[in-house]
Symmetry: C2
Subunit: 327 residues, 2 copies
């Protein structure tokens, strides 16, 4: 089996690559070849070098998607995209990468023809939803994004669904909740603080909380995000039916509950490293975001996330900190 | 006031133009200038010739949208598009006209800058919805189109909403129910038979009914469609709020009830001109279409359609047949 990952140099892309290299298989299929592309050169994973191609390229640029499909990957994880903060400040770049990139990939798949019909797993986002919301967002709730990022993800979902319906590919859109705790440095996502307030204190650093601690949101760990993508790759067209874009499960909690988890696991000295400093732009963006999902279809299809935010903190300590906390 | 109409040579475009020429005003504003563009040369309306520009051009082609905005129209009715049947059989043309055309217009508006912020009324469609449906589709129901046409309309709605949110224009998307009775020749819309079974018998000709007469659908007359567009042009941003795409009201009835209306108004000899000849493709497309809408927001905002299908038949006889029926 040949697997292509777009956005392979991003956080989820790297974790997915690592997992595929360890598993050497996707479901029952041995992975023989990996193609990794991103706007920056993806790192060549150790222990898989004979079968890996990496490329730094803009998927939306002419010919790039066609070249990525030259060896007809069986499964495509389409993760490439710019994050919410950047898509909001740079309108052209957001539409170029998030919409045109997806469209270029879909069109390149169609252009192959000759019975080629790959499985394509697309990372969408709960940012496709926009306030006001019911208590919990049902699977049938309409998409009224309040950011350009959410708009581009929703447009891509629609196109993925149409191309799937037409038999051009086997698509599935995975609406990720906010991924927490993101490792590494903060990115330009407006949701970044949900991770910072856990990650920085655990690393002995101060973190800034730009919103009130009553803010409620839904989270899943990076480990769960990779799990969603791998599970999605295993689903059949029959299981998915015509509605291929799915809201994923997650842990629904307030910022205060996140901080409680941190305190329980790492102590109050660590939690005291969070400094409250409201940021009007982040407050405004986050106020339009969903809080809670029903995610009934995802549950019925077997997608699972952590049960508590404590679990999410522990996954971070295990996967990123080697089990150690800076006290 | 300067009004631009894209798709001005289409059925709704011509009726809207006629109405604007008669009214010579939009709300409280005198219309001083009309710009009419379409892929075929729009007809120059009589009695308004000094102030009309007509142009045959593809809105999605480079420079066309920018040229259409040269004189900064205050209000834009964006009706240009290919219909559902054609968008389904010609994937590239559908995305080019229905998605790229809309995007080109939005981008050209953004490129003007300098405080230019026109009102833009976009004709979307109830084809943005796809089965299975609840008994009546609420305003918050998700968009899962089952045609490429519906996909392109939904993508355009999302982009219109995003550009409106960003303050680039004042957009409103009007999801038209099936327009019935369409005058003139059949077009390539899969919904064409809803009109044919009324129009052709009233003109003394045979009509083909390709679906079962239990098929339920929602209709509004061409006169109502023009009324929706004019009413939408009058709504303020404050009235609309962030959710600018609205499902319009209409008459919900079965094909059998349509035929009953025809029989009541024109007699059973006329209604006998309908020949039943099932068409699998049309049956399949129509089975994925919505039947009934709540359209609560549209009602609250003052949009109105006919009360009964009898009214719809009478509008056709009055507006298209000079009040006369071929017995």
């Amino acid at each position: 089996m040949h697997v292509l990952i777009t956005g392979a140099a991003g956080m989820i892309g790297r974790k997915l690559t690592d997992r595929l290299v360890i598993d050497r298989a996707l479901g029952d299929h041995i992975i023989e070849k990996l193609t990794l592309i991103d706007i920056v050169q993806p790192t060549r994973p150790a222990g898989f070098s004979d079968h890996v191609k990496t490329r730094a390229a803009d998927l939306a640029a002419p010919g790039v998607a066609a070249k990525a499909l030259e060896e007809r990957p069986d499964v495509i994880f389409h993760l490439a995209g710019v994050v919410s903060g950047e898509a909001e400040t740079d309108l052209e770049k957001g539409y170029h990468v998030n919409l045109d990139g997806t469209r270029a990939l879909l069109e390149a798949i169609r252009a192959v023809g000759d019975g080629y019909k790959p499985k394509a797993i697309f990372t969408s986002s709960i940012a496709v939803f926009g306030a006001p919301f019911p208590h919990a967002i049902p699977d049938e709730f309409h998409l009224t994004p309040l950011t350009s990022y959410g708009t581009q993800k929703a447009m891509s979902e629609l196109m993925l669904s149409d191309y799937t319906r037409r038999g051009i590919l086997d698509g599935v859109g995975i609406r990720l909740p906010t991924i927490c705790v993101r490792p590494g440095k903060p990115n330009k996502a407006a949701s970044g603080f949900f991770s910072s307030i856990i990650r920085e204190p655990l690393a002995g650093q101060e973190a800034v909380l730009p919103v009130a601690d009553t803010v409620r949101h839904t989270h899943a760990s990076p480990r769960s995000a990779v799990g969603f993508l791998l599970h999605a790759a295993e689903l059949t067209r029959e299981q998915l039916g015509p509605r291929i874009n799915l809201s994923m499960p997650g842990v629904c909690c307030t910022v205060a509950e996140q901080i409680d988890s941190l305190t329980r696991i790492a102590g109050s000295k660590v939690a005291a490293r969070i400094r409250r400093e409201p940021d009007a732009l982040v407050v405004r963006i986050v106020s339009g975001w969903p809080e809670r999902f029903e995610a009934k279809r995802a549950a019925a299809l077997g997608f699972t996330a952590e049960a508590t935010f404590d679990d999410i903190v522990r996954v971070h300590i295990d996967d990123e900190l080697g089990g150690k906390i800076a006290n």
